[in-house]
Amino acid sequence: MDFLNIEQLALQKDFDALLPQERAQVLACMSQTEYEQLRLMLFNAPQLDADVVPPPALKGRLMAQMRAQKQAPIVSKRGLLHRAVPVWQMLLAAAVVIPLIYIAQGAKNQGEMQPITLVQTKTDTVFQEKIIWRDRIKVRTRIVFREKPNQPEMATSDLFPVPIAVSPIDTSEMNPVSKGSSLADDPVLMGFFTK
């Protein structure tokens, strides 16, 4: 049995009025004398200073303070920043504050050394790599031989006063059929395409 239960018993019953089971539980924690002392204390403690009352003047002072509080301007419990402000007051405040800030900053800057910015002109040479496509013009000279009959020509010259038969010349080797040019044959040109 904890002391709170014993405390409840002591408030309700004298030691002699305890049931046998209750008496046994009490005696397990304390003696009969201690139980009686506890009863004495529990009955007298609440009566101690129970008749003291506050002076009547205290109520009068507090009610006066309450009335004064009621008449005072209402202060927003949320703080100054949450109060409603008319628009014209805001504009007026801005019209006053902004020039002041500007003047203050100007005055601050006057005392400072202003850096001078020098403009220096430089000429830079820019190299631009540009690929120019040019038409590759290949000039060929063709010798066109006209086929004539097999009649040999009689060539005459001062060296040969006797006419000499001139057979037609075989020009197949002199003017071979053009096969065209290949990139593989021209490595420089190839380089333009493969780089």
Partner: protein
Amino acid sequence: MPNSDRHPDIRTYPDARLMQEIALHNNERAFEVLYDRYSARMYRYFYRLLWQNAAKSEDFTQDLFLKIIEKPHLYDPSRNFCTWLYTLATNMCKNEYRRKLTLSLQEAEVQEQIYHTFLPEKIDQQRLDSELREAIGQLAEPHRQCFVLRYQEVCSVAQIAEIMDCPEGTIKSRLHYALKQITEKVGAFYKE
């Protein structure tokens, strides 16, 4: 039309409702009802904890109710008002204890002398009261507060735990120790 005429039954309002009236409308009548309910109780509480000093008890009671007037928003409606009030009062006493550590022995001797000199026919009860008062005053601060709240202010263990911000087990332990100390001292008087 004043509030008191529109709300004739304001005396039956619960404590939280009265605090709401004070916080939102600065209702004088609501404050008056609260003062009538709790002023005597809180004055006695201060009187018991502050070495039966009437002047100090009056000042502390005034400061406590001024807090209600000036800062009613401090009260959390989810809490029991009585417990909250006792918590404020207990914290005020703790601050006072820090400033003044021990009871003046000279004041106690003069008080006892008055009892013996002017009221001889009531000497037994008054001697018992004096012994009990001295025994309670000699307890350490947390034990004394627990004792006064439990056996003089009639608060439950759960309420005391909330007021003093301690676990219930700690409160029971302190009460047990305080009871033991006081019954030993009172027991010497009982044996006479």
